[in-house]
């Protein structure tokens, strides 16, 4: 399956974070979680944010989605300042977070229903994305009847279907077993090759980062600052045993903070 690029990464940035910081008070002490983070994601690229566990990656995504707004700096999406949650940002969660009372179809078409789109149009679009993530035949299944990997495909289709400007994936494969995780990485690559989107992908798994990314931003441990940016420009789909892959892996490993 060679899908090498029919894609184009545009140079215009869809999303821009400038000097974003976040602190909050806990037991009277100020905790700094994000410090002076400036980054941008270009149209149709996969930007991976890589950092150690608990370093504030999720906080950054929530700030971008304005679910829990940043305390400093600005975030703009397609030139518009982001101040409240809305359909321009779609999130895929580590905990998957499907609605257990809705079927695959119900979950995928949810965003369109909220927008008030008519049933026929909604179904058509949802079907397209259910097909895209390879879940044809499972439209009427409830989440409890699906495996972990299938559930997360529903999670991805749900966001795709809403056609946001940027998709934020928060360790989406973190709860899956190693085998499924690997398959889902390939699957995401395939889905993205078929339907390009701007994706910000958060992970603490280095192979996952190198496998998927156009660029990788490495964060430091709490408070999260940008440590370094890496460009990943060798062809897709990548192989984790390629010398280029291993070389980059070594390079990134070299700059990581030692364990405390």
């Amino acid at each position: 399956m060679c899908l090498e690029p029919s894609r184009e990464i545009m140079t215009n940035s869809v999303i821009k974070c400038e000097n974003v910081s976040k602190q909050f008070y806990s037991d009277g002490e100020m905790v700094q979680v994000l410090e002076d983070i400036s980054l941008e994601a270009r149209e149709n690229e996969i930007l991976v944010i890589f950092g150690p566990g608990q370093c504030g990656k999720t906080t950054l995504l929530k700030a971008i989605a304005a679910l829990e707004p940043a305390t400093g700096g600005t975030i703009t999406i397609n030139g518009k300042k982001k101040t409240k949650p809305g359909p321009e940002c779609g999130l895929v969660y580590q905990t998957i977070a499907l609605f257990p009372w809705l079927t695959t179809m119900g979950n995928v078409e949810y965003g369109l229903k909220v927008k008030g789109m008519g049933k026929k149009e909604r179904r058509e679009r949802a079907n397209k994305y259910i097909k895209l993530v390879g879940l044809e035949g499972f439209e009427k299944s409830f989440p409890i009847q699906l495996s972990g990997g299938m559930k997360q495909r529903v999670g991805i289709a749900r966001v795709y279907c809403n056609e946001p400007d940027v998709m934020l994936l928060d360790e989406p494969f973190g709860h899956l077993d190693a085998q499924t995780r690997y398959l889902m990485q390939e699957e995401l690559e395939r889905i993205w090759q078929t339907e390009k989107r701007t994706i910000i992908f958060v992970t603490n798994n280095m192979e996952e980062a190198i496998y998927l990314a156009d660029r990788i931003i490495v964060l430091t441990n709490c408070p999260a600052k940008i440590k370094q940016e890496f460009k990943v420009d060798f062809p897709r789909p990548r192989n984790i045993t390629d010398p280029e892959f291993l070389k980059l892996r070594k390079e990134i490993t070299g700059i990581l903070d030692p364990l405390e």
Partner: protein, 257 residues
Amino acid sequence: MKKINKYTLISFLSVLTFVFIWWTATDLLKLTSPTTLPSPVKVFQSFIGKLYQTNPDGATLLQHLASSLKVALSGYLLGVFIGVPLGILMAWYKPVDYIVTPLFDLIRPIPGLAWTPLMILLFGIGLMSKTMVIFLSAFVACVINSYSGIKSTKPVHLWVGETFGAANWQLLTKIAIPTAVPMIFTGLRVAIGASWNALIAAELLASTRGLGFMIQQARGLYRPDIIIVGMTAVGISGAILAWLVGLLEKLAVNRRR
């Protein structure tokens, strides 16, 4: 399958043994006088008789049952239709929570039955006073359960809604309420039990018809057979009501999970 049959048989034998001991103690050994504990045979005869006789309390068993059901269900439905929406609103809208919760916490620990004397003074011993007592019993269970149901909504589900641009009322109707449905039904089930209990107790205290009234009359007339018939009727109909609500719950909940 074989195992289930075995256990059914054991349960059946257990009931049979109980009735047999009862029969031995009364009809066979005559340990008790018929005005304190009648034999199972006598109770069964009274039960059949009570299906068409209005003696000694002015109505047949089914008439009493119908009267009790009417009161119980009107109080119950009133409790459900006010309690469930109120619980939902309390859980969802902070101001409602602040205004209503203190009042609700005041009446919550009061057993439904404790309202009876006040209600009798206010509304007399007719339908209204008992309906109010039952309403309060059902209401409390409905409010508590729908409240906790809404509160159990996962933040991440609300985030999903918010990032899709859902308005507050959409978050409530499309996320919080579906989350709460199983707990709301638990409330309905608890409430039907509470209503039935409160009704019978209220009827024992003051009424002119109903199963509780029938039992109370029979006590005055030394008719323990009719008391037991009444108790059995209360038990069976209460169980059927609970089963019906449980069935509704299954239809609404299991289909989805």
